[in-house]
């Protein structure tokens, strides 16, 4: 590993990205969808000369400004911190490959933040038609940020054969557009756009639920009913988008889905199945609550209901993002770089010359053998596993003796085509000595030392 390893207890560094990113997606995709919602709602208010509507849109704009301006930006930057610490190798590749794209993204972010502030603070201060135009500028710049980031995200799953053919040669920049408009770009863009539109509706339901029906009878109903329609496109088109998306993923990577649909595997095996289950159930629930409450009984629609919808949307989104992450395994950049930072092209070299040749950060305070094993673990296993927390290796290896830990590592090292581990784990690279060191390290960690004293008797016996 060229970089130091960031060890996060219990959850592992990957989940730091996961938690920040899922939070960010809920807000940023709202920023894009809401960016369309605001000028469209404002235009409706203008056309109908409806002061109630205009007032409500202004309130929602304030909510929008604070939520996206503060939490969206902070969490977006948070993702940068997290990915840089967790997976610097892949981050480096993405930066080198898409530096122009990132720069464009930031330009649009600046435009976004500026225009939304202008949009809110010039309300009632500049002519209405001009104000509406500011809203549209925001909407366009926000959509652009989605258009750009989608290229980078989908690239990670499917870089596409063209880019892969020049990867590592130094000529990658020449294939920028191929990498950007990669196989899953368009279905991914459709899916995310649908989610943006839905989230615009969901968040507008939050502010809408606060309308006091007694003070403004009739208005709440009209507002909520208009907003619920924003949730419709997603439910109609999402299944199609999903099928299209999966169709564009290479067959070798799609194999993960068939690994263990119906069996437990305490690990990855049935993750995708579970996530699909969650997405279907939560989506159906959102439909029910939105239709029967927000649409048919808007006067009874409270903040609690709107929050329930928001939470369900969070679950569905989180599940979807996690499923996408799972699908990409064992790579962090599809067919180019494995999840632990080792490039496909580096495997042969590392097996020959040793993995630890590149490990600059090795524990100096223990025996060399132990330090080797620990460094192997941190570099090659630590990106997806912890010892005692998430995907606990101690738990997964429990009950194996030293020899069987070794056979598992050998299986991962030989990486034969019929090994089912191939579907979600990278090959184990290194010399036989390094692999033995890893075996001893993992065996020592996962096998508890025999207890010094016998286990205490059940604790209910009163002391004599």
């Amino acid at each position: 590993m060229n970089y130091p390893f960031w060890e996060v207890p219990f959850i592992g560094s990957g989940w730091v990205i996961g938690m920040i990113a899922i939070f960010h997606v809920m807000i940023s995709q709202f920023a894009v969808g809401g960016g369309l919602w605001l000028p469209i709602a404002e235009r409706k208010a203008l056309r109908e000369g409806n002061a109630d509507w205009m007032n409500q849109v202004k309130k929602h704009a304030r909510f929008f400004l604070i939520l996206t301006g503060v939490f969206g930006t902070v969490s977006g930057v948070g993702i940068w911190f997290a990915i840089g610490l967790t997976q610097p190798e892949a981050t480096s590749t993405l930066i080198h490959n898409f530096v122009f794209g990132w720069a464009l993204e930031w330009v649009f972010f600046l435009v976004e933040l500026t225009t939304i502030a202008v949009y809110y603070y010039t309300w009632d201060r500049i002519p209405q038609k001009l104000h509406l135009k500011v809203g549209w500028v925001y909407a366009v710049s926000s959509v652009c940020t989605l258009i750009i980031i989608n290229g980078i995200l989908t690239f990670m799953l499917t870089p596409g054969d063209t880019w892969l053919s020049v990867a590592g040669t130094g000529h990658e920049a020449g294939k920028f557009w191929n990498a950007f408009f990669n196989p899953t770009y368009w279905p991914g863009l459709l899916m995310r756009t649908l989610v943006c539109i839905t989230l615009a509706g969901v968040w507008a339901l939050i502010t809408g639920s606060l309308i006091d029906n007694d003070k403004q009878p009739g208005f709440k109903a009209g507002y909520l009913r208009w907003t619920t329609r924003w949730l419709v496109p997603s439910f109609v088109l999402m299944p199609f988008a999903l099928v299209w998306f999966l169709h564009m993923v290479p067959q070798s990577q799609r194999a993960l889905l068939s690994l263990g649909m119906s069996t437990i595997g305490a690990g990855t095996f049935s993750q995708v199945t579970r996530l699909v289950l969650i997405m279907v159930i939560t989506s159906a629930t959102i439909v029910i609550i939105t239709y029967y409450l927000a649409y048919k009984n808007p006067q009874d629609f409270t903040l609690a209901h709107a929050t329930a919808i928001l939470m369900l949307a969070l679950m569905a989104t989180g599940a979807g993002e996690m499923a996408r992450e799972m699908l990409r395994k064992p790579y962090v950049i599809g067919r180019h770089m494995y999840s632990n930072g080792t490039r496909v092209s580096e495997v042969a070299g590392r097996n020959q010359n040793g993995y630890l040749q590149h490990s600059l950060w090795v524990n100096q305070n223990t025996s060399a053998h132990f330090a080797e094993g620990e460094a192997m673990y941190r570099g090659q296993c630590g990106s997806c596993h912890t010892l005692t927390g998430y995907r606990s290796l101690n738990k997964l290896l429990a009950g194996r003796d030293r020899e069987s830990v070794g056979s598992l590592l050998t299986m991962l090292h030989e990486y034969k085509p019929e090994t089912s581990y191939r579907k979600f784990m990278p090959p184990l690279t290194g010399t036989p000595e390094e692999i033995d060191a890893l075996r001893d390290y993992l065996y020592a960690q996962s096998t508890p030392a025999p207890p010094a004293h016998p286990a205490p008797a059940p604790t209910l016996k009163a002391q004599k």
């Binding site: 305490a266 996530l275 289950l277 029967y292 329930a308 059940p458 209910l460 009163a462 002391q463």
Partner: protein, 357 residues
């Protein structure tokens, strides 16, 4: 066409009378109305337990093959892990829901006249639910179930006079064995349901008969100021929505945190360190432990049991103490007793887990 079918049934079953009754049912609307959902949520979770329980029954084999059958369910049968996880998680959610329901009913003083029998049946249902949980827990016969049951059975066995006798009958011998599994299975699948369902029926009928209780402060307001909402369709829709949320929460928990299966119980090995019963038994478990440290020997155990029994008895007979719908010292005392009970339970449960770290 639906109208014709309805008419045919109505002429023979008197559905019209039922729907007239239903149409008159109203639910009081006030700041504490949220708590009215929890009885329905408990009912829903119980129905889920019956459903998932029957599915598990299809492959479960009590007795010597218990562990193997659960292993097959978890690792071999398609989606068996999901059904088992749903059943285990729902058991915990069910008991949590019942406790919320009970305490909210307590603080709303829904045990006062004429609802005392509703309270008594409710307590009996709580007791049966705890037995459901305890008996079900053993059925997989993995290490955790086996030792948790062994430890848990020390509670009844330390009852004075009848303790050892009843525990041996329950356990089917001096130790937890295959006989125990089969007895607990009979208890869990036949005996407890036969007791639970009629009691539940009575409990629900009483709620329909007396309607929902309102908290004293709300009851003190003049009738013209009190708001109600019809059960059909308004409250019923919201009730269903809460059921839906519960279903979603359960689906999430069961999918993302599937229930583990430990190693097969080895009766010769010592209890693992930190063995403890499930969270809903943690409070009495910890209380007994603490008292056992203070008072040595059998005195400690008996004192622990007595303390808990007395507390429970007071809890059960609270309607006889605080029966009048009049604000007074009894009402206040009962309220404080409730606060004390909740706090004590939460603290002892937390301390119990703290002690295991």
């Amino acid at each position: 066409m639906f109208d014709r079918i309805y008419k045919w049934l109505d002429e023979r079953l008197g559905l019209g009378e039922l729907s007239a009754l239903a149409r008159h049912k109203t639910i009081p609307l006030h700041s504490q109305s949220f708590w009215y959902y929890w009885g329905g949520i408990s009912l829903f979770l119980f129905l889920v337990q019956i459903f998932t329980g029957i599915l598990l029954l299809v492959y479960y084999r009590p007795g010597a093959e218990a562990f193997e059958s659960v292993r097959q369910i978890t690792y071999v049968m398609h989606f068996g892990w999901l059904i088992r996880s749903a059943h285990s998680w729902c058991a915990n959610l069910f008991i949590f829901s019942i406790l919320v329901h009970m305490f909210s009913a307590f603080f709303m003083k829904a045990y006062r006249k004429p609802r005392e029998i509703g309270w008594f049946t409710g307590i009996a249902l709580l007791f049966l639910a705890a037995l459901f949980g305890f008996s079900g827990y053993l059925l997989p016969m993995d290490e955790l179930s086996y030792f948790a049951t062994k430890v848990g059975l020390q509670i009844p066995s330390s009852l004075p006079l009848m303790g050892h006798f009843t525990t041996n009958i329950l356990r089917g011998g001096p130790d937890v064995s295959d006989f125990t599994v089969q007895r607990f299975f009979a208890l869990h699948v036949v005996i407890l349901p036969l007791l639970f369902l009629p009691l539940l029926g009575i409990h629900l009928w009483l709620v329909q008969k007396h309607g929902n209780a309102v908290p004293p402060r709300e009851g003190a307001r003049p009738a013209s100021e009190r708001k109600t909402v019809p059960f059909f369709p308004n409250f019923f829709q919201k009730d269903l929505a809460m059921w839906l949320i519960s279903l979603n929460v359960l689906a999430l928990l069961a999918s993302i945190f599937p229930w583990d299966l430990g190693k097969q119980a080895d009766i010769l090995s010592p209890a693992p360190a930190g063995i403890h019963p499930e969270w809903y038994f943690m409070a009495p478990f910890h209380m007994l432990k603490v008292l056992g440290n203070f008072l040595p020997g059998a005195t400690g155990e008996v004192a622990g049991i007595l303390l808990f029994t007395v507390g429970l008895a007071l809890w059960v007979v609270i309607p006889l103490y605080d029966g009048e719908s009049v604000a007074g010292s009894r009402g206040r005392n009962a309220h404080y007793f409730g606060v004390f009970a909740v706090t004590a339970l939460i603290i002892t449960t937390a301390l119990g887990y703290w002690g295991i770290r």
